[in-house]
């Protein structure tokens, strides 16, 4: 672990070394995540259980369920994202690795991007992959399931990107989990609206291009802006 970090710190690099930095952070975080597969499994199980709770609490009536389905799956995806965000920076922060990473000559925004990508691959992507299966619990038809999955694939990276800002801002604070939720959920609302709305739009025959374009635009904006905001927040937390 330390060897890998010092290897990062030593070679002289130009500031255009963003891509190697991203690859390094991605590889490292994926390796770490795969070592704690149990934790990832638990978070995914949380998602599945939350989704199963709603029909139990409301109604098993198929029409109502299929109307509710996209929304429930999206909200559960938001909650699953919130649950997993603290591990983005907290582990490294606790043992001092984050400080080393921030001190390295590589651009911090690129390193953060690598971490966020790893987070999405281990959280957002599984959530999107499970959606078709869980959507069946909500009597959703094939077209709705396709649209929902595609929307989740577009939207969950945005959740990881925006969430990284919140995770960095709340590093090391008491009750950081609930605080993170309070800070990030208002920012998640547009993603939720356009993402869940895509299925409604498809069912209403309005076509999904508007929703997907907006989600896509949001994704690009988040990819451009969020790593820098999160990097700034990391530096603020480390000072």
């Amino acid at each position: 672990m330390t060897a890998a970090v010092t290897a990062l710190a030593s070679p002289p690099v130009a500031s255009s070394a963003a891509l190697p930095a991203l690859r390094w952070a991605l590889a490292r975080d994926l390796k770490l995540a795969l070592r704690s597969r149990g934790e990832l499994g638990v978070q995914l199980l949380f998602y599945v259980i939350v989704v199963s709770l709603f029909p139990l609490a409301t109604t098993p009536e198929r029409n109502l369920l299929s109307t509710m389905g996209p929304g429930v799956l999206w909200v559960a995806a938001l909650l699953a994202s919130l649950l997993s965000l603290p591990r983005l920076f907290a582990g490294d922060f606790a043992d001092g690795t984050l400080e080393q990473i921030a001190l390295s000559p590589y651009p911090l925004a690129a390193l953060v991007s690598g971490k966020v990508l790893a987070h999405w691959l281990t959280t957002g992507l599984p959530v999107a992959a499970l959606a078709p299966l869980l959507g069946l619990q909500y009597a959703m038809d094939a077209e709705s399931l396709t649209v929902l999955t595609a929307a989740l694939l577009l939207g969950t990276p945005i959740l990881s990107l925006l969430g990284a800002i919140g995770a960095a801002l709340t590093l090391g604070l008491r009750s950081s989990g609930s605080l993170l939720a309070l800070l990030i959920l208002p920012l998640y609302v547009p993603v939720l609206i356009f993402g869940a709305g895509a299925v409604d739009a498809a069912r209403a025959g309005l076509g999904v291009s508007a929703n997907f374009s907006l989600l896509g635009a949001g994704l690009i904006a988040a990819m451009v802006g969020a790593p820098f905001a999160a990097a700034a927040a990391v530096r603020i937390a480390l000072d």
Partner: protein
């Protein structure tokens, strides 16, 4: 002009200036509010469609405008604080947040009580109300983050980043909810006012808006003075303040 501005960027020099400004803005707000309320509650005629319930707009609209305006001002001070690393700019941002949150709450509450008699429901998920609710969460988030961080300088910067992230998101939230709501056009609740408004009603609203603005300035200045004493505790100028010597 530039040297004059920066002279007041030190808490020691701004403290007395703010103290002098507060009574002016406070009294101006009180007088304007008295006039505005008289116009709104007494002079303005009863609305043909909504009856006297419409008179709530004389509180609701100014509060809503201020809630959004104050957020932008707070974001502006946050940007200054992050850019120039000045303590006072951060303190101004810190001072504005609670007043902004309060305006948002008042806007939501008065909006609900306007909606019930006129459109039949206290709450509807339309663009304005939902965006205003999320604005309240944004304010509360910034205040919560401020309380959660012990180091004031870290809190300044973290709240600054959060405020700026939020301000980018406010128009997005509004358009996303408006767009979402337009899909559900079957909704029988529509909260858009009739476009033509009697001149006297508009006058009343503008006077109340001005009153709300001056009130917000006075409240923020009063709060920033207290924040200054809180945070600049060791400074010599604090020890020499008249307030501390009085018994």
């Amino acid at each position: 002009m530039a040297p004059n501005w920066f002279r007041f960027s030190s808490p020691a020099t701004f403290y007395p200036l703010a103290g002098a400004m507060i009574p002016w803005f406070g009294w101006a707000a009180a007088i304007l509010a008295a006039i505005g309320l008289y116009v709104g509650l007494v002079v303005a005629p009863t609305d043909f469609q909504q009856g006297d319930a419409y008179r709530i707009i004389f509180i609701h609209v100014p509060a809503a405008w201020m809630s959004m305006f104050l957020y932008v001002v707070m974001a502006f001070w946050s940007a200054l604080a992050l850019g120039f690393n000045t303590r006072l700019s951060a303190m101004m941002a810190q001072a504005i947040a609670p007043t902004g949150a309060l305006m948002t709450f008042v806007a939501l509450w008065t909006g609900a009580f306007w909606g019930r008699p006129t459109w039949g429901t206290y709450w509807a998920w339309d663009a304005r109300m939902t965006s205003e609710l999320i604005l309240l969460f944004l304010y509360l988030g910034i205040i919560a983050l401020r309380h959660a961080i012990d180091d004031p300088r870290r809190a300044d910067r973290a709240c600054g980043v959060l405020a700026l992230t939020g301000v980018v998101n406010i128009p997005i939230i509004y358009f996303s909810v408006q767009w979402w709501n337009s899909l559900h056009q079957g909704s029988s609740v529509s909260l858009t006012r009739s476009p033509s408004m009697a001149a006297i009603m508009l006058t009343g609203m503008l006077i109340m808006s001005l009153a709300a603005w001056f009130y917000a300035i006075a409240a923020a200045l009063a709060r920033v003075r207290t924040i200054m004493i809180e945070r600049e505790r060791g400074a010599v100028w604090i020890g020499e303040l008249a307030e501390l010597r009085q018994r």
